[in-house]
């Protein structure tokens, strides 16, 4: 759910791996981020509408990933996937680290890019600067 940069990239990775992929977005223009040879299904619809998820056959899905720009949309859709449709594996992106922790506590698999990237940047800064050739200022 969510065909932004991350959603499109992930869909392509999974499709190349041989998975059956359906990518959902509320905006039909979003699918322009997918390469023309992408063989998965592109579906326009609202991912927090139970009827839309039902039409997609979400109950049959092995996994559901929510990566729209909205933390609350992602959290709501993921909880619906897990608790209404019984999807065995659900993963959800939540930018706000506090909400990420909360939803993790409620049993969702969550990733906070804010937390992950901040940590990565700090690790880079902690390293000795000699490793990188400082060609750019």
């Amino acid at each position: 759910m969510g065909c932004g940069r991350v959603g499109a990239e992930l869909a392509v990775l999974l499709e190349r791996q041989g998975q059956e992929v359906i990518i959902l977005d509320i905006d039909p223009d979003a699918f322009g981020k997918l390469p023309p040879d992408f063989k998965g299904s592109r579906v326009v619809g609202n991912g927090i509408d139970q009827d839309v998820l039902q039409r997609l056959g979400l109950a049959e899905a092995d996994a559901f990933v929510a990566v729209t720009p909205g933390d609350n949309r992602n959290a709501m859709a993921t909880q619906m996937a897990k608790h209404v449709f019984g999807v065995p594996r659900v993963v959800c992106r939540i930018f706000d680290p506090i909400r990420e922790e909360l939803y993790h506590g409620l049993g969702l698999e969550t990733i906070s890019p804010t937390r992950v990237v901040a940590q990565l940047l700090k690790e880079v800064l902690d390293r000795e600067p000699a490793e990188t050739p400082g060609s750019e200022g």
Partner: protein, 225 residues
């Protein structure tokens, strides 16, 4: 009572005004500066500018001592998140969420929200009796057979409510194959299964029996087939 309201639009404004008049301690959390100003100008210092789904904002707002937390923004997902944060992080005893999509009622209940208020459902409940019929939603047309799989919701006034499947007078060539209750739990019906208000009924029927089936589902109790 200390009552927090997330969302200072029209609904939030009038609710806050009424609750202040009734002598409650009220705090409205609103993102938009202009709305905040209007509330502050007219109702006094009872508004905090910020995102009511964020832990930091809710911490600053003293959510931990709130008796009642009401999320009234125009987005169902924001109201859900705000109430979940209030409930889980701050142990607010009672959370109320506004919803636009009436189907979210069951989902929100399952996710721990104490009360949902749906304008759509309220209006529907008031006009339901006057509507000529509840539409059957065609789910699938079976090729070649003239058969359809249709879905219909059993209104509270329906003659079906409280009856067992075995007692129903269904039109010919019509079979109820699945019942999904208001909590979204599906059941395969047997003749002893009792129909309840709000059940979604999925049936296989011939196209020409559809009107008769619709009448069985939607007709009020006083009428007999």
């Amino acid at each position: 009572m200390y009552i927090m309201i997330v969302g200072g639009g029209r609904a939030g404004y009038y609710l806050a005004k009424q609750l202040v008049e009734d002598g409650h301690e009220v705090l409205v959390i609103e993102k938009d500066a202009a709305r905040c100003k209007r509330i502050a100008d007219e109702l006094g210092d009872i508004v905090l500018r910020g995102d009511g789904c964020e832990g930091i904002t809710l911490e600053a707002a003293g959510t931990g001592r709130a008796d009642l937390f009401i999320a009234l923004t125009g987005d169902d997902e924001d109201n859900l998140a705000a109430c979940q944060v209030a409930k889980t992080k701050f142990d607010v005893p009672r959370t109320v969420a506004r919803i636009d999509n009436p189907k979210n009622e069951a989902i929100f209940k399952k996710l721990g929200i104490d009360t949902t208020v749906s304008t759509t459902a309220l209006i529907l409940a008031n006009i339901e009796q006057e509507l000529p019929f509840h539409p059957l939603i065609p789910l699938l047309s079976i090729k070649g057979g003239g058969l359809e799989i249709v879905e219909g919701k059993v209104p509270s006034h329906s003659a079906m409510v409280g009856k067992r499947i075995g007692e129903l007078l269904l039109p010919q060539h019509c079979l109820i194959t699945l019942i999904i209750d208001e909590d979204g739990v599906p059941r395969v019906p047997v003749s002893d299964t009792t129909i309840r208000a709000g059940d979604e009924v999925v049936a296989v029927c011939r196209r020409e029996s559809e009107d008769a089936l619709r009448a069985v589902i939607a007709n009020p109790a006083r009428e007999t087939e």
